[in-house]
C-alpha cells in the first residue's frame, strides 16, 4: 500500500479529532458532575432520572402537605385539650353542686362560673390557625360557634365538609374536625344526648334551682359529652402521632430516591477523574505521535 503524506495527515487529524472529542466529553462529564447530560447519553437512564425527579417532587409536596396537616392538627389538639379540661371543670362543678354540703350561695357562684365556662368553650370552638377558623368545616372566615338568644345558648353555623390532605401516596388524611362533633350539636356524636351548651345550660338551671337530685341525674349527660370530647381529642392525638411516622418514612423514601437519582445521573467522581486522566494521556500520546511521523521526509536525507 502506498502511504502518502496526506494519508498520514488525515489519519493523524482524524485520531486527534476523535481523541479531543473524547477529552472534551470526559471534561464535560467531570465538570458538570452529570453522567446524563442529554437524553441520548443514556435513554433508559434519562427516563429513570425524570421519573425519579417527579417522584421527589411529589414526595416534597406530600411532606409540605403533612407539615400543613400537622400544624392544623396541633392547633386543633391544643384547643381540644383545653376543651377537655373545661369539660372536666364542668363535671367537678356539677359534683360540688350535687353535694348537700354545698351552700346555696356557693351554688350561685357555680352557676356564674358555668356561664363563664360556656363562653370559654364557645371561644375554643372558634379557635383560629393562620387566621382561619379551624372547627367550622369549609367555612373558615367566620366564627362557627355564635351566641344564640334562645335555646341552646350557642349554635353551630359552620358546615360539615372536610379538608382531605394527601400526606402520602394514596393516603388522604382528614384534617378538619368540626365543632358540631366536638360539642355534639344535634346529637351527631352521641345520639340521644343534647349538645354541650344545652347540657351545661340545663346543669346551670338545676344548680340555680338547688335540685341536688336533678344534678346527680344530669351527671350521666355531662359524662356523655365529656367522654365524646375526650375521644375526639385522642383521635386528633392518634392522627398527629401517625403523621409523625408517615413524615419520617416520607423523608426516608426521599433519601432513598435521591440516592437512586444520584446513582442514575451523577458521575462517580473518582472514576470520572481517572477517565479524564486517561483521555488526557491518550490525547497527549496522539499529539506526540503526530510530531514524530509528520516531521520526517526523504527530503531531509537527500543531499
Amino acid at each position: 500500500m502506498r502511504v502518502t503524506f496526506n494519508m498520514l495527515n488525515q489519519t493523524v487529524l482524524g485520531n486527534l479529532m476523535l481523541n479531543s472529542q473524547r477529552l472534551m466529553d470526559a471534561q464535560d462529564m467531570t465538570s458538570s458532575g452529570k453522567r446524563i447530560r442529554r437524553s441520548s447519553d443514556d435513554v433508559p437512564g434519562m427516563g429513570r432520572a425524570i421519573s425519579l425527579r417527579s417522584t421527589i417532587a411529589s414526595i416534597e409536596q406530600f411532606s409540605r402537605n403533612s407539615d400543613f396537616a400537622a400544624a392544623q392538627l396541633s392547633a386543633a389538639s391544643s384547643a381540644m385539650q383545653a376543651i377537655v379540661s373545661k369539660m372536666q371543670d364542668v363535671r367537678d362543678k356539677a359534683m360540688t353542686a350535687a353535694s348537700s354540703a354545698t351552700s346555696p350561695e356557693a351554688r350561685m357562684a357555680i352557676a356564674t362560673q358555668l356561664d363563664q365556662i360556656m363562653r370559654e368553650l364557645a371561644d375554643l370552638g372558634n379557635t383560629q390557625h393562620l387566621g382561619k377558623y379551624i372547627f367550622g368545616g369549609s367555612i373558615t372566615s367566620s366564627k362557627p360557634i355564635i351566641e344564640n338568644a334562645g335555646d341552646p345558648p350557642y349554635i353551630y353555623v359552620g358546615d360539615n365538609r372536610n379538608l382531605m390532605v394527601q400526606v402520602s401516596p394514596g393516603i388522604d388524611l382528614k384534617v378538619t374536625i368540626t365543632a358540631d362533633i366536638i360539642f355534639n350539636v344535634g346529637g351527631t356524636a352521641v345520639p340521644g344526648t343534647d349538645d354541650v351548651f344545652s347540657v351545661i345550660k340545663t346543669l346551670k338551671e338545676l344548680v340555680i334551682a338547688d335540685d341536688v337530685e336533678g344534678i346527680s341525674a344530669h351527671l350521666d349527660k355531662i359524662d356523655d359529652v365529656r367522654r365524646n370530647a375526650i375521644s375526639v381529642n385522642s383521635q386528633v392525638g392518634a392522627q398527629l402521632k401517625w403523621l409523625e411516622t408517615a413524615k419520617t418514612s416520607l423523608l426516608d423514601s426521599k433519601l432513598r430516591v435521591e440516592e437512586l437519582l444520584s446513582k442514575t445521573e451523577d458521575i462517580d467522581l473518582a472514576e470520572a477523574i481517572v477517565h479524564l486522566r486517561t483521555q488526557e494521556n491518550l490525547y497527549q500520546a496522539a499529539l506526540a505521535t503526530a510530531n514524530r511521523v509528520l516531521n520526517i521526509s526523504l527530503a531531509d536525507y537527500l543531499k
Binding site: R2, T4, R38, A57, Q61, V165, S297
Partner: protein, 461 residues
C-alpha cells in the same frame, strides 16, 4: 547509420526526462490540492528502425530510436470513487440528522430544571398545594402561574420545532439550487473535456475538477453516473437524466403540502425521487421526525387542556359561581394558554360533596390518570423525550460509522491517487540522474563526432 542518429536518441532522453520532471513538479505543487489525482508520465521506447543498417547479415535487427512520453496517466480507481460517493451520501444524511436531533435534544433540555417535565411537576404540585388551603391567594396565584409556565413551555418547544422544520425546508431549497449549479459546472466541464479530447489532449486537471463535483453532488443526493467517465458520461437521479454532455435538466422547487417545498423536474413537473444524501436527511427530518414530535407534543398538550378543563368546570370559584375553563379550550401545543385568573379559578367542589377540597385534589390526581396511548401525561412526555434521545443516539452512531467508513475509503483513494512526497523525491533524483546521463551521452557523441571531424584524415590538410 548517420552519425547524428545517436545524438537524436540522446536528445529524446533529455526531453523525456525533462518532461517527467515537470510532471513531478506538478505533482509536488499539487500535493495539497483537494481532489487532485497523482499523474505519472508513461515512457515508451520510440519506434525502432527496421534493419536499415544491418551489419550482421543475419536477421533484421531493430535499432531503438530513444524514448518518448506516451501518456500522462491520472492515477485513480473507478471502483473506489463510486464507493466513496455511496458512503458520502449516507455520511451526509446521518450527520445532518445527527446535528438536527442534537439541536432538538438541547431544545427539550431533559433531564434538567428547564425541561417540560419540571413544569409539569410544578403544575401538578401547585394543585396539590391549592388543595391544602383552597381559599389562600398565594396558592391560587401559584396555580395560575404554573399553568402559564406550562403553556409557555409547550408553546416554546412547539415553535422551536417549527423553526427547525422551516430551516430544514430552507436547506432543501438551497440544495435544489446547489444541484443546479453543480450540474451546470459539470456540463461546462463536459464541454471543455470533449473539446480537449477531440484535440487529442488529455484533460487530466479538468477530469479532477469534474470528479470533485460528482463527489459533491453525490453527497447531496444519490446519483447514478453512466458512461466510461470520459466525455460520454451522463448523470441521472433515480433514472432521470440530470446532465448529459453539456445539457442540463434542471430541478426546481414548487410549493407542496403544508406549505413545504417540493423538488420537481423543471421540464415536466414530476417529483424528483430522492433516495439518499443530505437532501434525503432534510426531507426525513422535515416531514418525518419533526412532524412526529410535533404531533405527539400536540396530543399531550391538548389532552392536558381537555382533561384539566373537564375537571375544572365541575368546580366552583371563591365566590361560589361555577368555574369555567382553566385553559383556553381547544388549544394544543401551538397556542396553549391559561384562561382562568385568581377569581375565576375553581377551588372547591359544589356543596353536596362533603370533602370541600376535592376539586384541586382531583386536578392534582390527573397526573396519575392514564390518558395518552396507555400512558399518563408525564409518561407520554417521557416517551417523546425517550424517542428523541433514541433517535439522536442512532443518528450519532450511524453518522460516526458512515464517517469512519468514508474516512477509510478516502485513505484508500489517497493511497492510489495521493501524492507521496518521498516518491516524488525519488522520481526527481531518478529523472535528474537520467537527464544527466543523457547529457553525458550527448557530450560523448559530440566528442566522437569531433574525433571524426578534427582528428581523422589529417592528410587532407
Amino acid at each position: 547509420m548517420p552519425s547524428f542518429f545517436s545524438l537524436h536518441v540522446a536528445m529524446s532522453g533529455l526531453r523525456a526526462h525533462q518532461y517527467a520532471m515537470s510532471v513531478t513538479a506538478h505533482n509536488i505543487a499539487n500535493a495539497g490540492t483537494q481532489g487532485y489525482h497523482r499523474q505519472e508520465a508513461r515512457f515508451m521506447p520510440g519506434n525502432p528502425l527496421m534493419g536499415a543498417f544491418s551489419m550482421t547479415g543475419i536477421g533484421i535487427p531493430q535499432l531503438g530510436t530513444g524514448v518518448m512520453v506516451n501518456t500522462i496517466e491520472r492515477m485513480r480507481s473507478d471502483y473506489i470513487d463510486s464507493q466513496i460517493r455511496m458512503a458520502g451520501q449516507w455520511a451526509e444524511l446521518w450527520s445532518y440528522k445527527d446535528q438536527t436531533l442534537k439541536q432538538i435534544e438541547s431544545l427539550v433540555a431533559e433531564p434538567g430544571e428547564l425541561g417540560l417535565s419540571n413544569a409539569l411537576n410544578r403544575f401538578w404540585n401547585a394543585w396539590e398545594e391549592l388543595s391544602v388551603s383552597p381559599e389562600s391567594l398565594p396558592s391560587r396565584i401559584s396555580v395560575i402561574e404554573s399553568g402559564v409556565a406550562l403553556s409557555l413551555g409547550f408553546r416554546n418547544l412547539y415553535s422551536s420545532l417549527r423553526q427547525l422544520q422551516a430551516r430544514a425546508d430552507q436547506d432543501v431549497i438551497d440544495n435544489a439550487s446547489r444541484i443546479n449549479s453543480i450540474a451546470h459546472e459539470i456540463a461546462n466541464l463536459n464541454e471543455q473535456i470533449t473539446r480537449s479530447n477531440s484535440g487529442g489532449f488529455q484533460p487530466n486537471d479538468l477530469l479532477d475538477q469534474r470528479d470533485m463535483l460528482l463527489d459533491k453532488l453525490a453527497s447531496i443526493t444519490q446519483i447514478q453516473v453512466h458512461g466510461a467517465g470520459g466525455s460520454d458520461m451522463f448523470i441521472s437521479i433515480s433514472g432521470k437524466t440530470l446532465v448529459q454532455g453539456h445539457r442540463v435538466n434542471e430541478v426546481t422547487i414548487t410549493p407542496g403540502d403544508h406549505g413545504r417545498s417540493k423538488l420537481v423536474w423543471a421540464i415536466d413537473g414530476t417529483d424528483v425521487q430522492i433516495t439518499g444524501g443530505s437532501l434525503l436527511g432534510q426531507l426525513q427530518i422535515r416531514d418525518g421526525v419533526i412532524e412526529e414530535y410535533i404531533t405527539k407534543l400536540n396530543t399531550i398538550a391538548s389532552t392536558i387542556v381537555d382533561r384539566v378543563n373537564a375537571v375544572h368546570a365541575t368546580g366552583i370559584t371563591l365566590d361560589g359561581s361555577p368555574a369555567g375553563n382553566f385553559f383556553v379550550p381547544g388549544t394544543n401545543a401551538s397556542n396553549m394558554a391559561v384562561a382562568a385568573d385568581t377569581l375565576t379559578l375553581g377551588i372547591t367542589s359544589p356543596a353536596p360533596d362533603d370533602v370541600y377540597n376535592s376539586l384541586p385534589k382531583m386536578l392534582a390526581a390527573i397526573r396519575d390518570e392514564i390518558l395518552v396511548d396507555g400512558e399518563t401525561i408525564n409518561g407520554a412526555y417521557l416517551g417523546l423525550v425517550s424517542r428523541i434521545g433514541a433517535q439522536s443516539r442512532e443518528a450519532a452512531s450511524r453518522s460516526q460509522v458512515q464517517n469512519l467508513s468514508l474516512q477509510q475509503l478516502n485513505i484508500q483513494r489517497e493511497s492510489i491517487s495521493g501524492v507521496s512526497i518521498d516518491e516524488e523525491m525519488l522520481n526527481m533524483v531518478k529523472f535528474q540522474q537520467a537527464y544527466n546521463a543523457a547529457a553525458r551521452i550527448t557530450s560523448v557523441i559530440d566528442e566522437m563526432i569531433e574525433t571524426v571531424i578534427s582528428r581523422m584524415g589529417v592528410g587532407g590538410r
